[in-house]
C-alpha cells in the first residue's frame, strides 16, 4: 500500500519523479549546472560592461596597431619605440620561445646526466647528485631565478671583467661572447646540413628495412654521422670557410663587438635549466628503473652487447615511461619562464604587463596571454596523444 502511495505522489510531483529516475536526475543536474554557469557568465558580462562604460574604457583589439612608446632591451627582431603593440608582443613571444627552447635543451642534458649518474654505483657521485636534485626541487623556482640574477648582477664591473680565454668576458652587465659573422656562401653550408639530415634519415630507414628483410646490418649510425657532420664541414672548407668570429674587445668604457647576453637572460636560463633538470632526472631515473632486470638479462642471453642492449632494449621501453612526464616538464618550463617579469627580462608576460600599464587594455592583454599559453600547451598535448598512440604497447 505504501509503495502505491509513493507512486501516486511521484506521479503528481513530476520534478520528484525526475529526481528518482537516474537519467532524469542526470539531465536535471546538467541543466542546473548549465544555468548556473550561464548565469555566472551573464553576471560577469553585465558587470564588465557596466564597469567599462563607467570608466569610459574602450575595448577591442584595434589598439594593437598603435605605437608602443616603450623600449625593449635586445629585441630578436627589428623593434623601436615607434613600433606597434602587436610587434612588441611578438618580440615578447620570441623571447619566451627563445629562453624556453634554450632551457629545454640544457634541462634535458642536465636531467638525463643527473638521472643516470644518480643510478651509478659510485657512492659519492650518486649522493652528490641526490643532494643537488633534492635541494633544487624543494626550493621555489622564483627564488632560484632571483638568486642567480642577484649573483650575475653582483659580478665585477665592466672595468674588472672576468676574461674567459680573452674571447668571452663576464661582468655585471652580462656575458659578452664572440658573435658569428656570416659571409656570402654560408647559405650553402646550411643547405648541405639540411641535405645531410634528409639523406641520413632515408639511409637509416633503408638500413632498417634491409635488416628486417635480410638480417644484414648496415652501419647507418656512422653513415649518418658522415652525412650530417662531415659533408657540411667539407662544403664549408671547399667554399673557403665563409664564417668569421667577431671577438669582443675592450674599449674605454665598455666592450665592442660580439654578442652581449644580459644577466637577466642568463639567470632565467640557468635557473630554469637546473630546476627543471632536477625534475627530469627523477623522471629518467624512474623510467630506467621501470624496465625490469629480466629484459637486460634476456638481451645478454641473446648475445647482445651492453651498448646495443641499452639502445635497442632498455631505452625504447624506458622512453615509453619517460616521454609523457617529460613533455609536461617542458611545458612547465615554458610556463615558468613567465616568472621573468620579476627580474625584468622582457618576455610575453612582462611586455604584456607594460602594455597593460600603457594602454590600460587589461582584458585584451590577459586574453592574449591565455590564448598564447593555451595554444602552446594544447599543441604539446596533441603531440603527446599522437606519440602515446604510436608507442603504445601492442598486446596480442
Amino acid at each position: 500500500m505504501a509503495d502505491l502511495n509513493a507512486n501516486e505522489i511521484s506521479g503528481r510531483f513530476s520534478l520528484l519523479r525526475l529526481w528518482r529516475d537516474e537519467r532524469g536526475r542526470g539531465i536535471l543536474l546538467q541543466v542546473l549546472v548549465l544555468v548556473s554557469v550561464l548565469g555566472f557568465i551573464a553576471y560577469i558580462a553585465s558587470n564588465t560592461i557596466d564597469n567599462m562604460q563607467r570608466a569610459g574604457l574602450a575595448s577591442g583589439f584595434g589598439f594593437l596597431s598603435d605605437p608602443a612608446f616603450f623600449d625593449i632591451n635586445q629585441p630578436l627582431i627589428e623593434y623601436n619605440s615607434q613600433s606597434s603593440f602587436a610587434r612588441a608582443l611578438l618580440v615578447g613571444l620570441l623571447n619566451t620561445l627563445m629562453v624556453s627552447a634554450a632551457g629545454i635543451v640544457t634541462a634535458t642534458v642536465i636531467g638525463f646526466t643527473a638521472g643516470v649518474l644518480r643510478l651509478s654505483d659510485n657512492w659519492l657521485v650518486s649522493r652528490l647528485v641526490t643532494s643537488y636534485v633534492e635541494f633544487t626541487r624543494n626550493v621555489p623556482v622564483l627564488l632560484q631565478i632571483i638568486f642567480w640574477w642577484a649573483l650575475f648582477t653582483g659580478l665585477p664591473k665592466v672595468r674588472d671583467s672576468l676574461s674567459i680565454g680573452d674571447a668571452a668576458f663576464l661582468n655585471n652587465r652580462g656575458i659578452r661572447i664572440p658573435g658569428p659573422i656570416l659571409e656570402p656562401g654560408i647559405g650553402w653550408v646550411f643547405v648541405a646540413l639540411v641535405l645531410g639530415v634528409i639523406a641520413a634519415f632515408f639511409v637509416s630507414r633503408w638500413a632498417r628495412k634491409r635488416q628486417e628483410q635480410t638480417g644484414q646490418t648496415f652501419p647507418a649510425g656512422w653513415c649518418g654521422l658522415g652525412l650530417i657532420v662531415v659533408f657540411p664541414v667539407l662544403v664549408y672548407l671547399a667554399l673557403g670557410q665563409p664564417l668569421d668570429w667577431d671577438i669582443p674587445h675592450r674599449t674605454r668604457f665598455n666592450f665592442s663587438g660580439g654578442i652581449n647576453i644580459t644577466p637577466e637572460l642568463i639567470a632565467l636560463w640557468f635557473a630554469l635549466s637546473t630546476y627543471t633538470g632536477a625534475f627530469i632526472s627523477e623522471i629518467v631515473r624512474s623510467g630506467i628503473l621501470s624496465v625490469t632486470r629480466g629484459q637486460s638479462e634476456a638481451a645478454f642471453a641473446l648475445g647482445l652487447r651492453p651498448n646495443l642492449t641499452m639502445r635497442k632494449i632498455i631505452l625504447p621501453q624506458a622512453l615509453r615511461v619517460i616521454i609523457p612526464p617529460l613533455t609536461s616538464q617542458y611545458l612547465n618550463l615554458t610556463k615558468n619562464s613567465s616568472l621573468a617579469i620579476v627580474i625584468g627580462f622582457q618576455d610575453l608576460v612582462s611586455i604584456g604587463g607594460s602594455i597593460l600599464n600603457q594602454a590600460g587594455r587589461s582584458l585584451e592583454v590577459v586574453a592574449i596571454w591565455m590564448v598564447v599559453y593555451l595554444s602552446l600547451s594544447l599543441a604539446t598535448s596533441a603531440f603527446m596523444n599522437w606519440y602515446n598512440k604510436r608507442i603504445r604497447l601492442v598486446e596480442r
Binding site: 558587470n47 642577484a150 599559453y373
Partner: protein
C-alpha cells in the same frame, strides 16, 4: 680411508678471511668509489668539486661570518654577514604584523600541530576530539589572524613573511584536495555537460602560468565584479592558488581513478551502492591511495608557488627578502638572504616529500 676420493673435514682448507682489498673500509672504497677507471675519474672529479666548494662555503658562512651589527657596515665584507638575522627575522616571519600581536601568529602556528596530528599519525591520544579540533582549526586561525571580537583587528595586508606563505599554502592545500576530487570525478562523469565543463576548466587552468591567473585576480576581477564589491587580496590569492592547484590535483586523481580496475566499479554497482556511496566507500579510498605521491607533489608545488604573490604586491618571505636586499642598510647581502629563505622552503617541502614516501610504504598493502 685417508686416500678417499672425498675430502674429509680434517683435510679441508681452513677458512680464511676475505682479502684486505675486499673487506672493511678498503673493500667498501673499492666497490663504491674506485671499481673501474670511469668510476675512479668520477670520484676524483666529485672530490675535487667538493674540495672547491665545501671548505670555502663553510669559511664564508661560519668562520668569516659575522653575526652581530646594526647594518651591513658592521660587517668587514670578508665572510657572510648574518647581522640582519637578529634585526630582520621578525619581518621575515611575520611581515608587517603588529609586533605586540605576533603571539597570535605563533599560537596559530603551534595549534597547527595538534590539528595535523590525527591525520598524519596513528594512535594519537584523543584522536576523535583532535579531528573535531582540526575541522575548527581554519576558523580559529582566521579569527586569530584577523582579530575582532576581543582581539585587536589586524588588516590582512599586514600579514606577510613566511606566515603569509604558510597561510596561503595551507589554505590552498586544504581547499584544493576536495575541489580536485570533484573535478576529477566530473571529468570521468557520464553526463556530457559536466564532463565538458570539468575538462575545459582543467585544461585552461593547467595551460596558463599561475602568474597570469594572479594578474587576473588583481586586474580583471575588479572589472568582473560590481564596483562596491572588493575582495580581500589575500583571499583572492587563496582562491587563485586553489583553482590552479586543484586543476593539477584533478589530473593526479584522475590517474588514480583510471588505475582502479573496472571490476571495482561494477562490483560496487552490483552491490546496489549509489554513485556517491560507491565513490566514497570503494573507489576513492583506493584511487587516493595510489595517487598519494602525486598529491603530495602537487602540495609541494603549491607551497612553492606561494612565492608568486610578490608579483601582485604582497610581501611574502621572498618579497621581504627582496625589499631588504635593496635597502641601503643591507644592500648586497643577496646570497645570505636568499640562502636563508631557501632553507625555510627546503625544510617544509623536504619534510613533506619524506612523509609522503613513508606513507606510501605504509599504505602499500598489496605488495607486502
Amino acid at each position: 680411508m685417508s686416500d678417499s676420493f672425498f675430502r674429509t673435514k680434517d683435510d679441508m682448507i681452513a677458512q680464511r678471511a676475505a682479502p684486505v682489498s675486499s673487506r672493511g673500509l678498503v673493500g667498501w672504497l673499492r666497490a663504491n668509489l674506485f671499481s673501474n677507471i670511469p668510476n675512479t675519474i668520477l670520484t676524483l672529479l666529485a672530490i675535487y668539486v667538493l674540495w672547491l666548494s665545501i671548505p670555502s662555503f663553510i669559511d664564508w658562512a661560519i668562520f668569516s661570518g659575522q653575526l652581530v651589527g646594526d647594518d651591513r657596515f658592521a660587517c668587514d665584507g670578508h665572510g657572510a654577514c648574518w647581522a640582519w638575522l637578529d634585526q630582520r627575522m621578525g619581518q621575515f616571519l611575520y611581515g608587517f604584523y603588529p609586533q605586540a600581536e605576533t603571539w597570535r601568529v605563533n599560537l596559530a602556528f603551534f595549534l597547527l600541530f595538534p590539528a595535523l596530528a590525527p591525520w598524519l599519525m596513528d594512535n594519537v591520544p584523543g584522536e576523535r576530539y583532535l579531528r573535531w579540533f582540526s575541522v575548527a582549526y581554519p576558523f580559529i586561525v582566521s579569527y586569530l589572524l584577523v582579530g575582532g571580537f576581543f582581539l585587536e583587528p589586524v588588516s590582512t595586508d599586514k600579514l606577510g613573511g613566511f606566515s603569509l606563505n604558510l597561510v596561503v599554502g595551507l589554505a590552498g592545500i586544504v581547499l584544493s584536495l576536495p575541489v580536485g576530487i570533484v573535478l576529477a570525478l566530473g571529468r570521468q562523469s557520464r553526463l556530457p555537460l559536466i564532463r565538458w565543463f570539468s575538462i575545459i576548466f582543467i585544461e585552461v587552468v593547467r595551460g596558463v602560468p599561475l602568474i597570469t591567473l594572479l594578474f587576473v585576480s588583481n586586474i580583471i576581477l575588479p572589472i568582473f565584479l560590481p564596483p562596491d564589491v572588493a575582495l580581500d587580496s589575500v583571499i583572492r590569492v587563496i582562491v587563485m592558488v586553489t583553482a590552479f592547484a586543484s586543476a593539477y590535483m584533478a589530473e593526479v586523481i584522475r590517474g588514480g581513478l583510471q588505475a582502479i580496475p573496472q571490476g571495482q566499479y561494477e562490483a560496487a554497482q552490483a552491490m546496489g551502492l549509489s554513485y556517491w556511496k560507491s565513490m566514497r566507500l570503494i573507489i576513492l579510498p583506493q584511487a587516493l591511495k595510489i595517487s598519494i605521491p602525486g598529491i603530495v607533489n602537487t602540495f609541494i608545488g603549491l607551497f612553492k608557488d606561494t612565492t608568486l604573490v610578490i608579483v601582485i604586491g604582497l610581501f611574502d618571505i621572498l618579497g621581504i627578502a627582496n625589499a631588504m636586499v635593496s635597502n641601503p642598510d643591507w644592500l648586497g647581502l643577496s646570497s645570505e638572504t636568499y640562502v636563508v629563505v631557501a632553507l625555510f622552503f627546503f625544510a617544509v617541502c623536504f619534510s613533506m616529500s619524506r612523509y609522503s614516501m613513508r606513507l606510501e610504504r605504509k599504505l602499500d598493502t598489496d605488495r607486502r
